[in-house]
Each structure stands twice: as C-alpha cells, then as structure tokens.
Amino acid sequence: MKKFLTVLLVGCILFTACDRKQKQSENGVVTITFWHSFVASTILALEDLISQFEKEHPGIKINAQYVPTGDALIQKLITAIQSKTAPDISWIHSDFLADLVDADAIYEMAHFINGENGLSQEELSDIYPALMQYASLRKKIYSIPMEATNLALIYNKDLLRKAGYDAERPPQTWEELKEYALTLSEDYNHDGNYDQIGFFVPVYPASGPLSGWMMWQWVPYLWQAGGYIVNEAQTKVLYNSEAGVQALTLWKEIYNSLNLSSFTVDYDVAFASQRVAMSMDGPWNLPRFNKIMKNIDWAFAPLPEGPKKRATVVGGEYLVIFKQSPHPDESWAFIKWIIRPDVQARWAMKSGYLPVRQSVKSIPEFARYLEENPNFKVFVDQMEVAQAQRPLDNFGLQITRHIAEAIEAATLGGMDPQEALNRSAQKSNKLLKSVQNNK
C-alpha cells in the first residue's frame, strides 16, 4: 500500500512536470502561450483576433492567459523566468523592459525583423515612431507595440454651454485652459470649496499606485513647453528646465485656484455626475464611457496647445518574446500578423485601442469608422503629435517616481515648482551618475 502511494505521488509530480512540454507538440500543432492583462471589455476583441489568426495559421494555436493587473503580471513573469516556465509571448509595460533586457530574458527584435519572415524598412517606419521609441531600449528594439493609446481632453459640453462657451470649441491654449477651468468651477453651497470643478488636475501620492498615471499625464505639458525628460546621452535629466517649471506652474496654478486638495471624489465618478467639467483620459475608456455616460453630452478633444507646440503622450501595450520559448519563430509569426494593417484596423475597431500603423487610416472601412466615431478620431489624429515618455535606459522606474514627487510637492505640498523639480532632478542625476561610474 505504502509503495503504491509513493508511486502514485511520484507519478503525479512527473505528470504535472511533463504536462507543459507535451501540450506544445500535440500532433504537429504548436501552442504559443501569451500572457496579457487586458481589461475585461477587451478580452472579447482579443478572442476574435486569436480565432482569426488560428484560422489563417492552422499549425499554430494561441493560448491566451489573462493575468489581472500589470503588477501581478510582472510578479508572475519573475517567478516564471526563474522557474524556466516563461510564456512564449507576454504583454509588458516598457517600465520593465530594462530589467528584462539586463536579465537576458527576451529576444532583441532585430533577430526576427532581419530574419526570413521579417519586416521591411517601409513596414517598420509605418509604425508610429513614438511607439517604436517606446518599444526600444538603448537604441535597440526589444518589443513590438500591439496597440497604441494616448491622452486627450475630455469635457462636458452641457457645462461649457451653461457657462456661455461654444461647446464645440474646448480650450485651445494653456491660457484658455486656465480661464475655462476657473469659469467652469462653481461653489454651490458657498462653503469655500468648489462643488463643480472646471479642470481636474490629477495629483496623487507619488508613492501610491497612481503615481505613474499622474506622471504620464504631466509629461505632455513638459513637451508642449519644449522640454525633455532626459538628455540624448541619458547622462542628465532635463525636466527641471524652464519648460518643466512652466508646465508644473500651470498645473499648480489650476490646482491651487480650484482648491483641489479637498476634492476627493474619483475623477471619472465626478465627471459622470457632472461635477467635473474637463479632465484627461485615454481611448481605452471610450467603450465604457459610451455605455455609462449616456445621460450627459460629453466629447474628447485634443490636449490644448502649449507655448511651444502640440504634444500628447503615447502608451499602449508591447509584446516581447522570451528566450525560454521553444517556438520563437511561431511567436514572431503571431506578432508580425498582429501588426498587419488590416488586422490592426479590425482590432482597433473592436477593442477601442488605436492602430499602431499610420497606413491603417487609408483603409476605407477604418476611415468610415473614424467618421462615425469622432471621439475615437480625436485620438487617432493626435498620434501625429504623440511622443514617447521613454526610453529611459536606466533607473526608469525611479526617475518616473522622482518626477511624480516633484509634481506632488509643487501642487499638494505648495513648494516652488523650480525648487521641487530641482530636488527631484538632483536625485535622478545621482542615479544616472552612478551608471556612468560603473561603466
């Protein structure tokens, strides 16, 4: 009996261990494991995408596995890499690109792009340059964008009308943004706090979960003022320049004049209940907003133009191929297929994300879709002025944090913007210097 149990136990362990290997070579069909964290509303679109791919490639099966939240995904990836059970493809935030590259866990995309089933130079340059910049590290491509996002202004048309503005003409410049923000704010009960906020400035604790989100929304203003996060050689940060001060001063002025530190309602809830007139958001919320905000008249518009130029920030999801994958070429086939213009058009229309290739706009079906969905068109048009927050080759996570700390200190903490930025820049430069010294 005892012996039998032992054999059974060992058998179970062996079986579980072999399970993975066997799955991948069932009667000649290769299974590619793909980890992602798409929100629930996108998963249907993803399933549609995958079934289309499998129809066109009978020899490849895609096993998409959903991991809730990007943070959990990265934890899971760490465990998987260490235990040699990494997926073939995963969706990652480029914040973690540097760590993955340093650990030699992922392929450099040149390996596939220059290969037999590669991409031509035209195809490569058809992808928005900002996205390719975001997808690269130290001037090498390590990931491929699956879709794009950017940041636009969302505003409540009714509230604009009520305040006497033209509802089709949201603020176009920083000056107008400030003016609109103040005019659209109302203190109904005269307690000294605004009950209706003209423009929601997204300030969150720099050490909290929304820190990166805050920083992401501030960067376009830095660029609009002509600033940069870091110098070309990545030896010194530049966000504490004059442009940085201007951008942070804009946020600080609006934040202070609307007394936003006592405004504690989540912005999207507040917007849906008409307590916020203008704010910023991305295209991934379009399907949800279309559903939940039927009772109010709202629209997206490009971000106002800054003193130097127009700019917005790109986000999006990026696919990497792991070196542990037994089927890198099939994995690449999937990635290459996903960025095909017609697939991108189909995926964008179903998921609400933006296509990664510029030529998608000339597909008639997609052009028609844009005409029918003006809010979505705002985002697609904005891709022309979209810039990438990264690549930061080293200490990207910390430098992002430092910028967030400066934003928090200047707005909530009341510190002088120049001083707040200088303090953070000092910390960032110390880290960048340590990279230089180690070289």
Binding site: I78, D99, A103, P205, S207, T264, R401, L412, G413
Partner: protein, 305 residues
Amino acid sequence: MYIFMNQKDYLKQQHRKNFITGILFLTPTLVIFSMFILFPVLFSFFLSFHKWNMFSSSQSFIGFANYQRLLTDPEFWQVLKQTIMYTLGTVPLNMVIALFLAMMLNKKIKGKSFLRTAFFTPVIISPVAAALIWRWIYDPNFGLLNYATGLFGIPPVNWLNDSRAAMAALIIMGVWKTLGINMVLFSAGLQGIPDTYYEAAEMDGAGRWSKFWNITLPMLTPTTFFIMIMSMISSFQVFDIVYVLTSGGPMGSTKVMVFYMYEYAFKFFEMGYASAVAYIFFAMLAILTLLQVKYMRTRSGYEGI
C-alpha cells in the same frame, strides 16, 4: 528481544528511537519553517551584499555598497524618523487607553460583554477593509471625523492630504486597530491580581489612586512589559494600513520603514538594497528589544522573557 542487551545499551537505543520519532513528528513543521522562514532569512542576508533585480538568474556581488548607499540616503533617515514617530504616537496612547478600558470592563457594569466585543472587533477586521473605512471617515468633505469635530466648532482638517495631519490620522487609526488585543491582555492581567491585596489596602484606608499606583500597576508589570515589547515591534513593522490609507503620502510624510523596503523590493526591483534595509532594520529592532528586556529586568526583577 532486548533480553540480551544490558541496561545501558537498551536505554541508549530507546533514546535514539525517541529522538527519531520526535524528529519525524517535527518534520512537517521543520520543512515548512526552513522553506518559508529560514531560507528566505538567510537568502536575504546573502542578497544584501548583492545587486539583483529578480529577473536575472545570477546575483552580482557588490560588498557593502547597499549598506553604504542606505546609510547615506537622506530618505532612509527620514523614513526611520517617521517610523519612530508612529511608534511613539501609537504605543503609549494605545497602552493607556487599553489599560483604562480593561479596568472599566473589569468592574461589574451592564453590557460588559457587548462592549468587550465592540472594542475587540477592530483587531479581527481585515486591515485593508478597515483602512478603506477610515479613508471615508477622514474625507475632508463628507467624512465623519470632520463632521464630529465641526460640531464643536473645530475647522475642518484635510486629514489625508495634509502632510502635518496625515501622520496623526495614521496614529489614530493604528491605536483603534490594535487597542482590543491589548485590552484583553490587560484584562487577563487584572484578573490575576488577588482580591486580598485590595482588601488589605482598603483596611489600611487606601484610596482609589493609591490602590492603582501601589497594587494594580506594580502587579501588572509583567503584562505591561509584554504588551510594550509586542506593540513596539508591531508598530515598527506597520505596513498594510499605511499602504491603503495614505500610500506613504502626502509627500512621503507617512512613509514607514516596511513601506520603504517594499517599494525598493517590489516597485523598483532592487532586491539587494531592500534586503540591506531589512537587515539594518532587524538589527535596530533587536537592539531595542534587548535594551528593553535588560532595563525591565533590573527595574522589576521580572524574568518572564
């Protein structure tokens, strides 16, 4: 079977058999302990001399660089100061209130068991749920706390967004959360004091205060000492309520040591640095506890720990 053995050998064998049986009984615990406690403890000591981002398969040795960087990081000292502030804020307040409640509930009053349950409930509520409730209580516009203080004409405080108030908010919640367990411990301690002492004191004409100072407090010393050490350790290690209530903000004013360590380990993936923080912190706690034990021993002759 053992007839041919002499007494000594027999005992020796029995002893060995007992030993093996003992080890076998302990195996499950030993395995779990070494896998999930002993190994991580030793491994993080190893890591504290290395640079590792968790993704790579090897760690690169950098000697004392992590420790050096830590001791020269102004943020580390800031965080240490805030952790001490939190501890000094919660522990004494907590103990005074817990003792007061325990003494009240030790009397014959109506609804005693209900009150005891009510005060103990916060201890068993999940810290995350509790912190979310307190976020509402502290809300500057709709919060209960500002409403209550407003009734007395106190101007509203922006509890969680004001760097001067946030630590106080954290301390208030911390006291509320851990009060119950200390109250129960004090209750047990109070019940262990024989009534005869009080009777004798009353015969001698001692008043309430005199009984409290001369009987209750000295007799409670072992309990007080135990509670003090345990509360200090747990206050120094506070994390969950900070994470949910303030996320270390505003402007890092409520960032405590474990939060700082967590950020480096799981936000910035600097495992080596985070391990060095853990070891420095461990050393500080160990020294503090040893000092307390030594001091209390000489003061009270208490040998309990």
